[in-house]
Subunit: 119 residues, 2 copies
């Protein structure tokens, strides 16, 4: 199985690592340089850079324009796509959706009972 | 970089493929046998089985007990975890959260202006 290359798959792949998810949490508090991003991790510079590249390829982070510091910033759009994808399954765990499902079920039964009135 | 083995990472990894996501959508409509799951894909049986194993390892699907058919069913719990993770970033794209942020900002300023009254 080769890794998939579509945007959503690249996002999911980038999120499949606790260090990369921690980096995104750090950037949710504001832009940060590679040095600042690396500080909390017991990890070599090149290892952190590799994680940053995966996040960048998925469009989850971007580099600032300041030539010398190049602070990284969070780009939330791909995370919104993930939230939307997962949200499609919301009715499986959300009680208010479950109630809506029950209600639609009742409507369907009512319709059957009374037959098609507009058919 | 070795693949991470924590539960959330395994879930994200399993979701990093359009075929596997399509299988979950199929199972959201009800339990299905491997044959039924495979039908829409131009893919060998073993390739589909491989995808099913990745989904199963992440706890996203489970096998029914019926010995002969062993229909697969969706287990939504890991998707809920993904939704929760992504939801932590909601304020970056949700307008209602942006309004809440603004409101908290106003409260903070008011507090500064009036000084600590209960301090």
């Amino acid at each position: 199985m080769r890794p998939a290359t579509d945007a959503l798959s690249a996002t999911f792949f980038a999120l499949a690592d606790p260090t990369r998810r921690a980096i995104l949490h750090r950037l949710s508090r504001g832009a940060a340089t590679v040095k600042e991003i690396s500080a909390p991790f017991e990890m070599s510079g090149p290892a952190v850079s590799k994680h940053l590249r995966v996040l960048e390829r998925a469009g989850l982070i971007q580099r600032g324009r300041e030539a010398q510091w190049r602070p990284r910033t969070l780009n939330p759009a791909p995370i919104r796509d993930v939230a939307e994808w997962a949200g499609e399954f919301k009715r499986f765990w959300d009680a208010s959706y479950a109630r809506l499902d029950n209600y639609l079920e009742v409507l369907k039964k009512e319709e059957k009972k009374h037959g098609k009135r507009n058919g």
